[in-house]
């Protein structure tokens, strides 16, 4: 692909360095696809469309996330989900969903350039996030398979524990990405 169309992360100007001392590791997982999916979870055509394209039904249990092959589906509301695809897959998944939903009350919106993913890992990952996040991050309350939309340092985010228990995945808006990364790196100094 030509350099003219080179994709640039909203965090391109942030320097990610090796964590010092007991500070958690903070890294970006850039360029995933993000599709906002809306529809009625009790409508057979909607359920069938999701099943056909993603191989699973959209989760109806509040604040849960499921793996669907290469994709992940986050519960965002009783009629709203976020589908995270591998980089570059979003247009195909979106088109497949739109085709499967022909005549079905639904919407699929590509929000890929609006969001990015951060991983915070290490022993103090929860402590670092809890510096300014009101959610209970204790593994007794918040386990892999769960997700939550809440706030980090006053900015909206979607958080879920990583499957291997090493830390958390944060999905943040690109317009807050620079602020949140600078905030995280600053808050991490306390753990060095």
């Amino acid at each position: 692909m030509s350099d003219l169309f080179q994709q640039e992360s909203p965090l391109v100007q942030i320097e990610f360095s090796e964590p010092k001392g007991a500070a958690p590791r903070i890294e970006e997982k850039p360029f995933n696809g993000y599709l906002n999916l809306r529809g009625r979870s009790d409508h057979t055509g909607f359920i069938a469309g999701v099943l056909k394209v993603l191989g699973v039904e959209a989760p109806t249990e509040a604040n849960t996330v499921i793996d669907a092959g290469d994709n992940r589906i986050y519960w965002f509301g009783p009629d709203e989900w976020l589908i995270v695809t591998k980089p570059g897959q979003q247009t195909r998944v979106r088109n497949d969903l739109l085709a499967a939903f022909a005549g079905v009350f639904s919407s699929v919106v590509d929000n890929s350039s609006g969001l990015t993913t951060i991983h915070v890992t290490g022993d103090n990952a929860a402590a670092l996030i809890a510096t300014d996040c009101p959610l209970d991050l204790h593994p007794r309350e918040f386990k892999p398979g769960q997700c939550a939309q809440t706030r980090l340092a006053k900015a909206g985010m979607t958080i879920s524990p990583l499957a291997d228990g090493s830390g958390f995945e944060l999905i943040i808006r690109r317009s807050f990405a620079d602020y949140l990364l600078l905030w995280l790196q600053d808050a991490a100094i306390a753990f060095e």
Binding site: A62, P78, L135
Partner: protein
């Protein structure tokens, strides 16, 4: 920390929520037949009670759903929350 129970997400910090005024105000049908007084009453007039109050709340930083809450306007205690379309708990009926 003051917690509010979203009917979808469970107990969450109050900073995730915003209040959206009195609940259970039905929009009148055939609004074109209303007098100015009736229309103004629907738009602007609220009961503003001292004590139990049925309110709409929005889980703004969470699932972004509106729901109803039964809140005491004196103590701020929220005794129940319930989904839009559900009947309010009997305690709130006056």
């Amino acid at each position: 920390m003051f917690l509010i129970e979203c009917p979808w997400c469970g107990l969450r910090d109050e900073t995730e929520f915003s209040c959206a005024g009195e609940a259970h105000i039905a929009r009148p049908l055939e609004t074109e037949k209303l007098s100015d007084e009736e229309w103004a009453d629907y738009l602007f007039m609220r009961s503003n009670p001292k004590g139990a109050h049925r309110e709409q709340w929005l889980h703004a930083a969470g699932c972004r759903r509106y729901f109803n809450a039964l809140r005491d306007t004196v103590t701020y205690k929220i005794s129940a929350t319930y989904k839009i379309g559900e009947t309010p708990p009997s305690e709130g009926k006056k």
